[in-house]
Symmetry: C2
Subunit: 300 residues, 2 copies
Amino acid sequence: MTGPRVASTRAALLDLLADARGKGDRVGLVPTMGALHDGHAALMARAREQIGDGPLVVSVFVNPTQFGKGEDLDRYPRTLDADLEVCARRGVDVVFAPSVDEVYPDGVGADWAEQSVTVDPGPLATVLEGQVRPGHFRGVLTVVAKLFALVRPDVAVFGEKDYQQLALIRRMSRDLCLGVEVVGAETVREPDGLAMSSRNRFLDREQRMRAAALPRSLERARANADQGARAALAAARAELRQAHGVDLDYLVITLPDLSDLPPRTPAGTEARILIAARVGSTRLIDNLPLTLGAVDKGDS
Amino acid sequence: MTGPRVASTRAALLDLLADARGKGDRVGLVPTMGALHDGHAALMARAREQIGDGPLVVSVFVNPTQFGKGEDLDRYPRTLDADLEVCARRGVDVVFAPSVDEVYPDGVGADWAEQSVTVDPGPLATVLEGQVRPGHFRGVLTVVAKLFALVRPDVAVFGEKDYQQLALIRRMSRDLCLGVEVVGAETVREPDGLAMSSRNRFLDREQRMRAAALPRSLERARANADQGARAALAAARAELRQAHGVDLDYLVITLPDLSDLPPRTPAGTEARILIAARVGSTRLIDNLPLTLGAVDKGDS
């Protein structure tokens, strides 16, 4: 097993990818903030499906501009050696681990977004996660645009777990003509259904059990989706009412591309249900695809 | 003389550039809105210097999102056949003339910037030209980001005539890690010094004569720059006072990258003087580089 090559600058990355590009191979990118777990491994596998023998690049960069005040940028785990081992086991060809200076040549002070040219995510960034995390999606889209410009991938894979982020990145690639195929990878779950997340480690034993109410409620919605969006939401809410210590933030059914937000009952049959809730002081999110029946379409 | 190849889609453009990219040739881009004149020819020559035998791409696209209300998008001249002849004479290899749908897949309604992911130019877009043309630089940077993503040039050439635009595009390429070398080409002038511009045709004979006061005032500033910024500005203003029918909008001396705007007397010796004025109903802009003497540096 040979490990991945590591690049920390644009120039080094260009060198490592030059041969593959010359041959016309497809380049795949999985952007991460490190602290890699099984969820990331699934992203890497999904990328490999897309690019065949082309080079698979994993970026490891803890992006300061997507952390809000009190969101623990400094305590975010940095585990590059362990990450490189995960990448080696998963057949990653190149790890791109740039410095903050490489990605933000002018630095990242508190007034960063007022001092630089940035990517404006538009209205989809002001609802759901954007409502509780102002500026978050501007930071995410700006750093993803930079990573796309640095790596120039043909395909990039993001987890469906962060569904609004995925929808926004798809939107960005289309709206800015970036030409990157943005692929969503299905959420990897624990045996009781809880979506894998680096935040799960903040849950104590009892909270961890309660947290399974999130995926359970989404499954209940899915089981009732043939009766329409209103019935699906009611079933999910009934499930959540039985769970103590789960403080619901939002529960919505929207179009798969979130283009109808702020949410209303979608007009189509293909839809997405999204949930956010606090368990103790930990905020969790999850989502599932739904196929809605025609019963109450558009009338709620 | 063989004419340039013409592409109107990303796919066609990729095809035309594939061989050159495979060989590692440098790709040059001159973005234009068509209606090509001698000023554009100078941009093409400057690009050719940068790329040697690599492919020179000229984009011809009248960008709807940089026109404000009443700014005559519909009356902007479209002269593709004549433009192709200019390109053929200047050794252009590829003309990229996309449709509005190719560049804006979601259309460009009046609320365009509120419905899409866009490039936010930041504070430098709110002063000088940005103050009289709200939204203009968001439209410019967004379309240039798209053209960079579509063409993927190594070098792009813009005229120094639109100096604030040039500074913002330089800033964007650095801030978003686009990796495009942004080169400014010196302004091409009429015999009396007036900067070439498609707007000059709106001047009647008398206005056309008066308009030469703009470059004359800049030259006066330059001639007095060794006495410092204050003296340079005073000299330019004295020149303008002698010109009737020239309605000054702004006259400022700033750092060459405009990073000290809103403008104050620059601390360095290398500086730029920028002017905007109305002659009749036509708004003209111009600028020159200055080397300031130390006399009043920083004290005004």
